[in-house]
């Protein structure tokens, strides 16, 4: 199936999802659905770097929160800017951070990159905590508009649609890459870097592309967050649960294809939404940790691997 055809199909699926959510009529569906969709974007973005090229990013929270804080800054300085423009800005900032990090650490062994991303999350949080303009450690309040600016309905429906479209974009991009020249280059890097170089693959440039693309999508996913939570502080924006979820979802779904992160995010995201309501949020996080460890030990190819023989 061609990329355009797949993209149209994904849009139809998105439209059906939105229509179904509206038919249920309960605003909680949009609040919960938004979080699941946000994880679809994050997991897919993570997998472009982690699954395709084999470089593990522990700093999802940093890329994500940088997108969110870009929105906080823009909301205070240019409040008239529409949300999609803020998302582009947040994506650009996070992509640049990814590029910078990658440039410094991607020449080294993959583990050093991973450790650096972990440390970077701590530092980005330190910077934001000390930056009073965005509220410092006290956090920032954002007023959520009441109504959607483009169709009749609550603003949360608008946020839901935005995240739905971003998920479509992320999945279509991830799928297109997988079947493209870029995808073969990424796979070669993941499998054997010296052999990839010897085959003419410009490994450093491709790794930088993957890092920037992955970081940029994460930043875009974080940009609407301030409007969703209406109160954002560093501890919640940089929560470790973002990093754990975004790693757990592709690994549970399967990292080799675009489908794995999608399955993982929908399953695990929905499970957590249910568990948070019915049990407790701490226990639902514990569940994610246990599932992650369980899957990497027992099912190295994830759920998708069960259906491939």
């Amino acid at each position: 199936m061609g990329n355009i055809r797949f993209g149209l199909l994904a849009l139809v699926a998105a439209a059906v999802t939105f229509a179904a959510a509206r038919a249920i009529g309960n605003p909680y569906v949009f609040f919960a659905g938004y979080v699941v969709l946000q994880y679809v974007v994050l997991a897919t973005a993570w997998n472009i770097l982690g699954g395709y090229t084999g470089y593990v990013n522990f700093g999802t929270a940093a890329f994500f929160a940088m997108g969110a804080y870009t929105t906080v800054v823009l909301h205070k300085t240019v409040p008239v800017l529409p949300l999609p423009a803020m998302m582009l800005a947040g994506g650009a900032i996070s992509a640049l951070i990814g590029l910078g990090m990658g440039y410094l650490t991607l020449r080294l062994r993959g583990t050093f990159f991973s450790i650096a991303t972990l440390a970077m999350a701590v530092v980005a949080q330190t910077l934001i905590t000390n930056w009073n303009f965005v509220g410092g450690s006290r956090g920032a309040y954002i007023v959520r508009p009441r109504l959607s600016p483009i169709f009749p309905g609550d603003y949360i429906q608008y946020l839901f649609v935005i995240m739905l479209l971003l998920s479509v974009l992320a999945v279509v991009v991830a799928r297109a890459i997988q079947h493209s020249r870029l995808g073969y280059g990424f796979a070669a890097i993941r499998d054997d870097e010296p052999a990839a170089e010897a085959s003419g693959v410009p490994t450093l440039r491709l790794k930088l592309i993957a890092t920037a693309l992955s970081g940029g999508l994460m930043g875009m996913a974080g940009a609407p967050l301030p409007y969703y939570v209406t109160y954002l502080d560093p501890a919640s924006g940089f929560s470790l649960s973002y990093a754990v979820n975004t790693i757990a979802m592709p690994l549970i779904g399967g990292t080799a294809t675009w489908l794995g992160p999608l399955i993982g995010a929908v399953l695990l995201g929905t499970l957590q939404q249910v568990a948070t309501v019915t049990i407790s949020s701490a226990l639902s996080l514990l569940l994610v940790g246990l599932l992650l460890v369980g899957f990497v030990i027992a099912a190295p190819k994830g759920i998708v691997g069960w259906f491939q023989r």
Partner: protein, 243 residues
């Protein structure tokens, strides 16, 4: 010397206090078959890595087809037309054989302006057919035998459409018949106009293959000439048999 494809002048490389290569000069003509021998640790692999850009040489210059290679990354050299096989085969384990070969087609052969405007799928099939692996095109490298792995390595090197192929011990550990098999394959490639540097311990194969033989000992070139004469040179005999 006209027609020199690869010119190496004064090549030197050291690791800490250990001198791996010292002032090595070498030329390879277009379409030539060159044998490179030397005892273990004589600097052959370091030489290959310096030529291919995996290592940076400390001194000297490498010129290939009129381009100065110094400081060029490995993938740029591949695109210029230097291909290598690895001593221990390094296939891409999660890709099928066809996709293994497809990577250099997409990243090296396609990039070269004016070169073959190829249909990647057909070229994949041609290459796998040439090494006799076409029927396994959809399998993964883990399913291959030792000799099939070497053949895949050669097919992948050839997929970048090189003008020079460096075959780094492609026959080590193979049986008598398998060595002949690979030898025939290399002769075929050479017949297509590709210069080949063969690094090998199996003297029978080197002597049958090479038009010229170069000997490295302790990082220095001690002989360069007609194979039959080189192997009778006293210092070469001494290096191999121990003095």
């Amino acid at each position: 010397m006209t027609g020199a494809l690869l010119t190496v002048a004064g090549l030197g490389k050291r690791f800490g206090g250990f001198i791996a290569l010292s002032d090595v000069d070498l030329t390879v003509g277009a379409g030539e078959r060159l044998g490179l021998i030397g005892p273990n640790g004589s600097g052959k692999s370091t030489m290959v890595n310096c030529l291919c850009g995996t290592l940076r040489n400390d001194t000297g210059n490498v010129t290939f087809g009129g381009h100065a290679l110094d400081g060029l990354a490995a993938h740029r050299r591949t695109r210029l037309g230097i291909a290598r096989s690895f001593q221990l085969p390094r296939p891409f384990p999660t890709l099928t054989l066809a996709d293994n070969v497809r990577v250099p087609i997409l990243y090296a052969a396609d990039v070269k302006a004016g070169r073959v405007a190829v249909d990647p799928r057909r070229r994949c099939e041609e290459l796998l057919n040439m090494v006799g692996l076409l029927d396994k095109a959809d399998r993964k490298p883990a399913d291959l035998t030792q000799i099939e792995m070497r053949k895949l390595e050669l097919a992948r090197a050839m997929a970048s459409e090189p003008r020079l192929l460096i075959a780094d011990e492609v026959m080590a550990g193979l049986s008598h018949r398998e060595v002949d098999d690979i030898l025939a394959l290399l002769m075929t490639l050479n017949g297509q106009g590709i210069a080949i540097v063969m690094i090998e311990h199996i003297m029978r194969a080197v002597l049958a293959f090479s038009q010229r033989l170069v000997v490295l000992v302790a990082g220095r070139k001690i002989a360069d000439g007609d194979p039959q004469e080189v192997v009778r040179q006293p210092d070469v005999v001494a290096a191999y048999l121990g003095s």
